[in-house]
Each structure stands twice: as structure tokens, then as C-alpha cells.
């Protein structure tokens, strides 16, 4: 826990993130490039044909949608329980990125569903709970914008984030708990052939590095904006 508080100090965070950023940004480019190359070089799947290519962008987007929410909820918990100074900023900065990944997961999933299932959309447990995730993200961002007092907005948004976190295990296990049209998990259980697994893992790493890079830049931006606001207030006094 201690190190979290050390880097929660905005000055430390600015220094650390500034040092780490070039590496995460380059890692994102390399992973995405290699994943794209291996993905388009992979043979067609015996059942899905070349629509297997959609997996390489759908699964990373959907995984990040949930992973980002996990990060957002964790930051909200830090904010509520320990009054961690930077965690509200971090949670708020993550939300639009998570919402974007969720939307991309929905769009790419639909475009796979049409040729493979014969429909863009079904109200099965996985798809419905995932759509709910998008609404939770939108609600979270709306709540931040709706309350003017920042301390109150942060508390309300953090509580909403923790309530919404209930949805994450529901999404994850929906394919096991209910009879869904969406297929079950195939990465951890080793059901995916290496020729598809390698590009998928690279794309997932690329999406993750991209998110971490953008998240750090967004937090840095928020810190500078706060400094500018404080300066303005100091100047007005």
C-alpha cells in the first residue's frame, strides 16, 4: 500500500509517469504492429474462415472494457476508504477510455455476429450485461459532470463506480452461468490454437499498453489543469 501513496503525490506521479510513458507508448506500437502482422498472416479458421480476424480486435477491446472498469473501481475504493489524493483524478481519467473500449467491443462483436450467428444482436446474458457496462460508464461520466462541487462529485461517482463493479463478474461468468449464444472463454483454458493465440495476446498487450499510456497522459493533463486553476485562484485573491 505504501508505494501507492508515494506515487499518489502529484509531483512523484509526474516524474514517474514522464519516465515510463515513452516505454509504454513504444511497447503499444510494437505489440499492435506485430499482432496486426501475425493476425493477417494467420490461416482462416476451419469454422469461422477469415472472420477470426475480428477476434483480434474484439477480444482486446472487450477485455480492456472490463479491465479499465476494474482499475476505475479500484481507484474509487482508494478514494472512498483512504482519501487517496490522486485516485479520483485517476478514476475520472480512465472512464472515457473504458467507455470507448466498451463501444468498440460492442461494434466489433456485432460485426462478427452477423456473418457467424446470422444476427447483429441478441439479448443474451453476455451481450446484455456488456451493454449495461457501457451505460454504467456513461452514467459515471454524467455524474461527474452533473455535480459542481468537486469533492461531492468525486464521492458520488466513486460510490456509483463501486455499485457498478457488481456487473464485472456478471459479464465475466455470464457465459458459464447462463446458456448464452456468446461462446465461452478459450484463452486460459487453452482451447485456442497457437497460430491464433500469438496475435491475440499481442493485440491484447498492445491495447493494454495503449490504455496505460493514454491514462497516464490524461492524469498528467488533469494535474496541470488543477495547478492552472489554483494559480488562477491565487492570482484573483
Amino acid at each position: 500500500m505504501n508505494f501507492l501513496f508515494r506515487y499518489a503525490n502529484p509531483h512523484h506521479f509526474m516524474r514517474l509517469s514522464g519516465a515510463v510513458l515513452p516505454f509504454t507508448a513504444i511497447a503499444a506500437l510494437l505489440c499492435l504492429g506485430a499482432g496486426f502482422y501475425l493476425g493477417f498472416s494467420a490461416p482462416p479458421d476451419y469454422q469461422q474462415g477469415r472472420t477470426v480476424l475480428l477476434m483480434f480486435i474484439h477480444v482486446p477491446a472487450a477485455t480492456m472494457a472490463m479491465g479499465v472498469y476494474g482499475a476505475l473501481a479500484f481507484c474509487s475504493l482508494l478514494s472512498l476508504v483512504w482519501r487517496h489524493p490522486l485516485s479520483d483524478t485517476a478514476a475520472r481519467a480512465a472512464a472515457p477510455l473504458g467507455a470507448l473500449f466498451t463501444a468498440l467491443g460492442l461494434v466489433t462483436g456485432s460485426l462478427w455476429g452477423k456473418p457467424m450467428w446470422g444476427t447483429y444482436w441478441v439479448w443474451d446474458a453476455r451481450l446484455t450485461s456488456f451493454l449495461l457496462l457501457l451505460f454504467v460508464y456513461i452514467g459515471y461520466m454524467a455524474l461527474w459532470n452533473a455535480i459542481e462541487d468537486e469533492v461531492r462529485a468525486a464521492r458520488a461517482a466513486a460510490i456509483l463506480a463501486l455499485v457498478g463493479a457488481v456487473n464485472i463478474p456478471i459479464i465475466k461468468f455470464s457465459v458459464e452461468w447462463w446458456n448464452t449464444l456468446h461462446q465461452g472463454e478459450s484463452i486460459v483454458s487453452g482451447k485456442l490454437a497457437p497460430v491464433f493465440l500469438a496475435p491475440l495476446l499481442l493485440m491484447m498487450a498492445g491495447y493494454a499498453f495503449l490504455f496505460v499510456s493514454l491514462w497516464m497522459i490524461r492524469i498528467r493533463t488533469a494535474i496541470l489543469e488543477r495547478r492552472a486553476r489554483n494559480l488562477m485562484q491565487a492570482g484573483a485573491r
Partner: protein
């Protein structure tokens, strides 16, 4: 690399296009916002003098 999508081209290319466009836009938007915040803070610090630089 093989870019022949056969009958599935109408599903695969839009998905890749939307994903690439969205990720590119959010990256540009994030970097632009960062640069703008940095420039604004620098301008404020300059106008208010070195004494006001501590947040």
C-alpha cells in the same frame, strides 16, 4: 500477410476501420489536451511570476 477477406470483407474491414479510427482519434485528442494544458499553465506561470509557481 493476406488481405483477401472473401465474402466477409463487408464485416471485417468496417470493424478494423472503426477500431483504428477510434483509437487514433482518442490518442490525438489526449495528446492535444495535454499540450493545451501544458501551454496554459506555462502562460499562467509566466504572467504571475516565479513567486506563484508553487501549486
Amino acid at each position: 500477410m493476406n488481405f483477401d477477406m472473401g465474402t466477409y470483407a463487408a464485416y471485417i474491414w468496417p470493424a478494423y476501420g472503426v477500431s483504428a479510427l477510434a483509437l487514433a482519434c482518442v490518442t490525438i485528442w489526449t495528446v492535444v489536451a495535454w499540450r493545451r494544458a501544458k501551454a496554459r499553465l506555462a502562460a499562467l506561470e509566466k504572467s504571475q511570476g516565479p513567486a506563484a509557481q508553487k501549486p
